[in-house]
Amino acid sequence: MFKILEKRELAPSIKLFVIEAPLVAKKARPGQFVILRIKEGGERIPLTIADYNSENGTVTIVFQEVGKTTQELGTLEAGDYIQDFVGPLGVPVEFPNHKKVLGIGGGLGIAPLYPKLKMLHQQGVEVVSIIGARTAELLILEEEIKAVSDRMYVCTDDGSKGRHGFVTVVLKELLEQGEKFDEIIIIGPPILMKIGSEITKPYGIPTMVSLNPIMVDGTGMCGGCRVTVDGEIKFACVDGPAFDGHKVDFDELIKRLATYKEEEKISLERFNEAHECKLINKIEGADKDAVK
């Protein structure tokens, strides 16, 4: 069992947990992820390691409540336990000899971007970052990204904060202005990583993306997370999750992510019904107490 030491709400429906997991923390490197299972009967879901502290033995995860398991996870509090928490999984990212890197994070993708930029910053690499979200209140880890960036741009789709528009608008501008980077890291929804990679391709700048396919075991034994990279089947859990954005078949990835759409809906509806019942019972119970 793995204890939740700290819980923070970064934005509506986006939460941060600090988990006590000394062995994971000791080996964790930027680019790696964990698989967790809340309880018996629960499913295994992958989440990127957003930060880690090997001395304190803690691992930070950030998740958005998008379905049954993440919603249920969101109901847990500091002091609660998670049944299974396994990692670090996947290949760590490395940036030898880089002088200047551009990091782009969209939505929840800002969380997995953070440890990479933090490492680059510590290595003395010049870091430029662009982070964006649908609206100002969904923007996460702004201070953290700022602290590891030499220059940072903020974008919102609705213009409620920073630049009005997608992160790709700023990306295009920087490239058009002739700014050079040794590498561009793009993490966010698959469509953002796809469009971003298309933008950087003509400039010939190496572009790293972090893929988020469906996973089960996360150890390379099932191939559920397979993606096509440069025409070859790769397992994102053991060969990735970071890949060359210019070689990834994003359309296939996007299609495959929709495999369990119906089942995910059924599961979430059931959870919400059960959850509402619990809340109603609580409220009714409170009313009865008030009558007494």
């Binding site: 009967g41 396994v86 150890t219 390379g220 034994m221 099932c222 191939g223 089942e263």
Partner: protein, 407 residues
Amino acid sequence: MPLNRSKKKTPMPTQKPEVRRRNFNEVALGYSEEEAVSEAQRCLQCKKPGCVEGCPVQVQIPQFIKRIAERDFEGAIKIIKETNSLPAICGRVCPQETQCEKNCVLGKVGEPVAIGRLERFAADWERAKGIHPPVIPKKLGKKVAIIGSGPAGLACAGDLAKLGYDVTIFEALHKPGGVLVYGIPEFRLPKIIVEQEVEFIQQLGVEIKTNMVMGKVLTIDDLFEMGYEAVFIGTGAGLPKFMGIPGENYLDVYSANEFLTRINLMKAYSFPNTDTPIKVGKKVAVIGGGNVAMDAARSAIRMGADEVHIVYRRSEEEMPARKEEFENAKEEGIIFDFLTNPVRIIGNENGWVKGIECIRMELGEPDASGRRRPVPIMGSEFIMDVETVVIAIGTGPNPLLTKPLKA
């Protein structure tokens, strides 16, 4: 003691095919005491028993069978457990026809003694009575690490513990058992039995640490630093092979490992009572002819598919699956397409499988494996309409553990 001169094994009761094809309960129901005694009385008690030689752990077969024939069931299980800590599992899933039963002298004139069924009977009998906690041996004060909690790791752990070693098993998944929990379905090996046999190993003093992906969480070097003096690697062959044909990444194409892991380990058959989903279309094709293909096909029927095909490129004769599993699958309505090989998977505009294009094969000269090599018959291509494809063409060793060593 009367001798049962029947040339055939005492039949074991099973769930009726039309019933069992829609549930995940165990198919074979096991011998009653009377049936077990009657089968045990077939054993000739050979002075030089070939059966023992055929058993990988040399269970003293004639001795335990003699106890069953004498109705001393407790004595029987004691003898088995001297050399085998997992009898309820081995009695069910060992391929006895190529091991102990292959060498049984009765097999020369009829059917061999049903050693597996008798071992299973003895183990089940003990479980029903309450398993005796084992005698814990004197500790040697030496630590051994075992990587992987599949049958090899569990057996090794059990034997080392009996010798007095402090044994720790490191398992990557959240449950111990390896293929016994994620691969072999409930209807062949109930998971409660795996749990109980694993508990027995733990009672011997073995510690099992789950969620330990070796090579990631810890390396072999770390284990030696932690004071382990020896390491046993029993990580199996869990890397799925794909065919390399077009369309393999369409939605609803599964490796057998993924399909079976979702169903067995994650209990997707109980969805949405459990959280892991699975998609099984009305028409399913399973590619391959081994036991894993049989397990996947029989699981697909139980998940509610109307029509399940086994597509195998050779003929019935070359099929590596156990005869018993093949027979069970046929009884449950699985359709066998022999001498048929998929050449591509066809999908619709959203990426969902809608069929597989196959080609008919004929058998040519024997290949390196000694089996006749399948050769495509040009122009015999046809399309099979299916909504789900499960690829069960074999697995290789997972490089996860050794990869960091090379780097």
